[in-house]
């Protein structure tokens, strides 16, 4: 029997008919396919919001690189998993602050680099840290090292970190985060001083087995690792930008762990599919409405205060953040030194007070623009602000901008109101750094200039007494709020879900510490 293909009479008209019929049938309710768990054998599958970009800590682009670096390299100290910020020893067997500018350390004697590059020595530590601050390295992460000067090598595995002046964030950012990763001096020099997307030598509990760009990174157990054995033989890190997609993958059993959208928290609170668990972690990010103090329309402090009082933060959190986050009191999140228990302006709007302030200001027919990034969360927030300010007679026109135009707003003289969100590391100095006078027009879009604030920022970075430091940051945030240029909204949250087979190891802000992930 001979089969012959015949040309189907699929003209444009027939195509449209067929497409319409198919579209209609696709709109009918469909059942969901059966779901299966992802954990098979000893492979942990986690989602990252971005793909790896480099294996060089000096050129790390942030969280999605650090997730991998922290698993294949060692640091003197690592963040401790849990709900409170702290650190624990990693490559260091001992580390102590000898005086405000000297930190002595000793390395463990059982850590070696792959590819025959020998045991980790104090020379490797010196090379790794000094490489970050060297001008020729052009590391974007150099600011994280603060006042770091150099490392004095006092023995094969002993040395002293020397600072130019006291630098409190050394313990919360420089050593346990991106810049703390120790690379092999011999291997890096043999590679010409640059590390690309392939590691030159690794030393952590995992090795990077493969990297398929935009697809996945596979980590595999390091057979020469002498420390506590990691729980998983392999870790697959899948870059998935979209949270809805990641949630579907998790529910289909293709992922063991993922961050989920705030909009899904309520649903997951009612039950996570496949016996999984929802963990709601606070975030360090901060979101606020800023007012450009240099703009002629915003010169009147009473008008700015009226705007502060008219914005109803609980409504914003309910509608734009699905009620899954708490209001913020400033730029420093709970859990960090300097967090304010309460702001000077309450989260809920006080329309009577706002109207009173507006009347006192003498301003009438106020029309302002509000610039926002083109994300649903921000446009929703902007619409609520627009509606609430309309309640006291202030007209707001929303300018939705794509990311390129938005992040270039620092030098926009016409900027009036702006809805902004900054990322954060676990040290308060990282928050205040962007609001100093020298940052005006760069990242300080409000053009907030305050000599006392600048001094507090500089002094607090040097202050090693935690209580005194906290007081300084509290005062700094008071000054910001008193300027009338800020209405603090939220620190957001980092909700994550994980399958029943794993015990996640997370920083207090919900970011992963993959090397410590366990099995249940």
């Amino acid at each position: 029997m001979k089969l012959e293909w015949t040309k189907a009479p699929m003209g444009r008209r027939n195509f449209l008919k067929t497409a319409t019929a198919l579209g209609a049938s696709a709109a009918l309710p469909m059942g969901f396919a059966g779901q299966a768990m992802a954990s098979e054998g000893s492979t942990l599958r986690v989602r990252s919001y971005g793909d790896m970009s480099t294996m060089d800590p000096a050129h790390s682009n942030g969280v999605f690189d650090e997730e991998i670096h922290a698993s294949v390299y060692n640091k003197l100290i690592q963040y401790k998993p849990g709900s409170e910020w702290g650190w624990q020893l990693d490559a260091a067997s001992m580390i102590e602050q000898a005086d405000p500018t000297h930190i002595n350390f000793a390395l463990r004697d059982d850590i070696g680099f792959t590819n025959g590059h020998g045991a980790m020595t104090a020379e490797d530590v010196k090379f790794s840290f000094e490489r970050i601050i060297a001008d020729e390295t052009e590391s974007p992460n150099k600011p994280d090292m603060g006042s770091f000067s150099h490392v004095e090598v006092t023995g094969e595995r002993e040395g002293t970190i020397v600072l130019n002046e006291p630098f409190a964030p050394l313990w919360s950012i420089a050593l346990p985060y991106i810049t703390g990763n120790i690379v092999s001096k011999a291997a890096t020099e043999a590679a010409g001083g640059r590390i690309g997307t392939d590691p030159v030598a690794e030393s952590g509990p995992y090795l990077r087995a493969s990297w398929s760009p935009k697809e996945k990174t596979v980590l595999t157990r390091n057979p020469d690792w002498k420390g506590d054995a990691p729980a998983w033989d392999n870790i697959e890190i899948l870059p998935i930008d979209d949270e809805n997609t990641a949630e579907i993958a998790f529910e289909a059993g293709e992922l063991d762990f993922t961050r989920v959208s705030l909009g899904s928290v309520e649903r997951y609170r009612a039950g996570v599919p496949n016996g999984g668990t929802l963990l709601e972690n606070p975030s360090l990010f901060y979101v606020w409405l800023g007012m450009n103090l240099d703009h002629p329309k915003l010169q009147n402090p009473l008008l700015r205060q009226a705007i502060q009082h008219a914005i109803d933060v609980p409504s914003i959190l309910e509608a734009a953040y699905f009620g899954a986050v708490e209001p913020s009191t400033g730029i420093i999140a709970p859990g960090l030194a300097g967090h304010r228990e309460a702001g000077k302006v309450a989260p809920a709007a006080d329309f009577a007070r706002a109207a009173e302030l507006l009347a006192e200001s003498g301003e009438t027919n106020v029309t302002l623009t509000l610039d926002v990034l083109n994300k649903t969360t921000f446009t929703t927030t902007a619409q609520i602000i627009q509606a609430t300010l309309a309640g006291i007679g202030i007209t707001v026109e929303i300018n939705v901008l794509e990311s390129g135009a938005f992040w270039d707003s620092g030098n926009n003289e016409n900027l009036q109101l702006v809805l902004n969100r900054f990322s954060m590391t676990p040290d308060p100095t990282y928050a205040t750094a962007w609001f100093t006078t020298e940052q005006a027009g760069i990242w300080n879009w409000e053009n907030f200039r305050n000599a006392e604030f600048d001094q507090l920022h500089a002094d607090a970075a040097r202050e090693t007494d935690l209580a005194k430091r906290a007081e300084m940051y509290i005062r700094a945030q008071d000054l910001m709020e008193e300027s009338g240029a800020y209405r603090f909204i939220t620190h957001e949250a980092t909700p994550v879900v994980h399958s029943s087979g794993i015990i996640p190891a997370l920083r207090p802000d919900g970011l992963t510490l993959l090397r410590y992930f366990g099995k249940s």
Binding site: R12, A27, N244
Partner: protein
Amino acid sequence: MSKSRSELSIILRGVAKDPLGLIGLIIVGAIVISAIFAAWIVPYDPIGMNIPDRMQGPSWSHWLGTDNLGRDTLSRVIMGGQVALKVALPAVFGAMAIGLTLGMIAGYGPRWLDNLLMLFFDTLRSFPTVMFALAVVALVGPSLQTVVLVVMATSIPTYGRVARTQTLTLRNSEFILAERAMGASMVRILGVHMLPNIIGVLGVLAAMDVPTVIALEAGLSFLGLGVKPPTPSWGALLKDGYALIRQTPWLVVGGGLPIILATLGFTFLGESLRDVVDPKLRKNR
């Protein structure tokens, strides 16, 4: 007057005889009527927020549910139709008017002018529409006028080229040569004798272009760069719906269905119109 009325009725009857044409006519009619009377037929204020009632599913009080600000989705869909037509109609007819004028001048005028205008059309056509739109929006900011301007600018060459080709075909026709021999001015030849022979083709093209423009406006709004919030638009509904698809799929339905219907309706109508006004195609049917 009565002649054009009878021509219109012949066209409408022709369209109505074609099942797809009739469907197109009904859909387009429904969209146009709902857009014109949107302010009277919306059940709720389309920008009025009611946060406690956010993300409701369909019910008797909210047929398409509510969005994340508690606004009635159906009301926003209806008002979104008005926005879509406010963009599509001026953009398409503006582009058609300019393209028609320039195309006829190019086709009837001297060679150097033809070359110059063709260079102008080719330059405009060389910009990818979406990229051009994004660049303009980045420069002047998003607004309804910006979208109209961008769409109009990028559509002019299409109409211009068709008008030019038609003019070139007609310029040596006997009736045109006779008019010229009698000393008729260029304006009279183009306006009185050529225009009626070209406008039909461009009208069909315009009908087919309307859904493209609606989709472009929706695309820009989907990127958050179309009309400004809180003005409802189908693209913005789709964007919000996509972000909230796991919480409430009804926003995607509310934003997507009208775009599909408008696309089908205008395409069916355009195809049917083409068949009716083109005698060759009419014979083959």
